[in-house]
Amino acid sequence: MIVKDVLVILFMLGGFFLFFTATLGLLRLPDFFTRLHATGKGDTLAALWFLVALAVYHGFSLTSAKIVFIAVFLFLAQPTATHAISRAAFRCGVRPWTLERAVLLDEDTVEQGGEK
């Protein structure tokens, strides 16, 4: 019983920490694409940790199977949503933020993305 509780608490704290860093990244990072880096990865893994913790807490039942299904769905859907919205930005010609010294994009990419 104690082992189960400790596992649940550990997983949940890990998930909460990842959610916290994802939110911080969403607030702090300089432009849209880098913010997507924070939310796209951090939220997926954090949600996975929470779902694992809840499945462990609930024990083996049909509800746990549903929780596993939510996890599978999230792993399929979250990167796809991230890709879809970053693609929309790319096609609309949003210029990614770069360091001063770096070359922005090579010519080909700029043409492809369309200039605004």
Binding site: G42, T44, L62, P79, R87, F90, P96
Partner: protein, 239 residues
């Protein structure tokens, strides 16, 4: 005297071995020819069937039945009630859905090697989760530092993957792993937004692409599979 005898016998042995090797190669060649001919014959037959329309109706029926079975399993997982009334409802709903959407689930499936693909895919998941954990540690360490050391850039590379499912696996893996997001796919060219120079270099090494190609048996792995098939046919022909 003995020396010449020994030499002669070795020569003979070598000659016998050479002949045996030639025989083996010939047999393998005929086996490969035989299988090729059979495949061609089967394809011709399938073409005839396709021409008459029989094949199409048959595959459609198979698709509907397969989709119904998969959806019924999903329904039972959701419902959790196994009395006759709810099961009947489930069968009706799943059959209706399968009739409406039969061409979606099995659009691009290559027949025959599903079990191997499933096994390899399951073996791929732990590696992916390890990579994702590394990715999150990377992002967390970036965000928590006061001066974020990032150097965003766009990487472009051409992929050798063919089917859409393998492309999705690769793109979603890229999105989930350290510092990279798939921005666009156009005619097999991936545009990837990378968070720093180091990550971009790692991506160009193409480790992940090889793994995905291995799962779905694409590109150069196809060739190996063919050779193994020929060897198996040779075995059966000999016995």
């Amino acid at each position: 005297m003995e020396v010449t005898l020994l030499l002669e016998s070795t020569d003979n042995a070598f000659r016998v071995m050479e002949r045996a090797r030639e025989h083996a190669v010939g047999l393998l060649d005929t086996a490969v020819q035989f299988t090729a001919e059979q495949t061609r014959f089967r394809q011709e037959k399938r073409g005839q069937l396709l021409f008459t329309g029989t094949q199409k109706r048959k595959t459609q029926f198979q698709n509907i039945v397969g989709t119904t079975i998969i959806l019924l399993a999903f329904w039972m997982l959701l419902s959790g009630k196994f009395d006759a009334f709810h099961l009947t409802l489930g069968v009706i709903c799943c059959a209706l859905t399968a009739y409406l959407f039969h061409d979606l689930l099995f659009a691009n499936v290559r027949v025959g090697d599903m079990r191997v693909i499933a096994a390899r895919f399951i073996a791929y998941i732990p590696w992916l989760i390890e990579q994702i954990i590394l990715a999150n540690i990377h992002v967390a360490s970036l965000v928590l530092r006061r001066k974020m050391p990032i150097d965003p850039q766009i990487v472009k590379f051409k992929t050798k993957l063919e089917t859409d499912i393998s492309c999705v696996t690769l793109a979603n893996s890229i999105t989930l792993t350290p510092g990279t997001i798939t921005m666009d796919i156009k005619d097999g060219v991936f545009y990837v937004h990378a968070l720093s120079q180091k990550v971009a270099n790692e991506l160009n090494a193409g480790d992940m692409e090889d793994r995905v190609a291995h799962i779905f048996m694409e590109a150069d792995h196809l060739y190996v599979e063919d050779v193994l098939d020929a060897a198996r046919i040779y075995q059966t022909l000999r016995t």
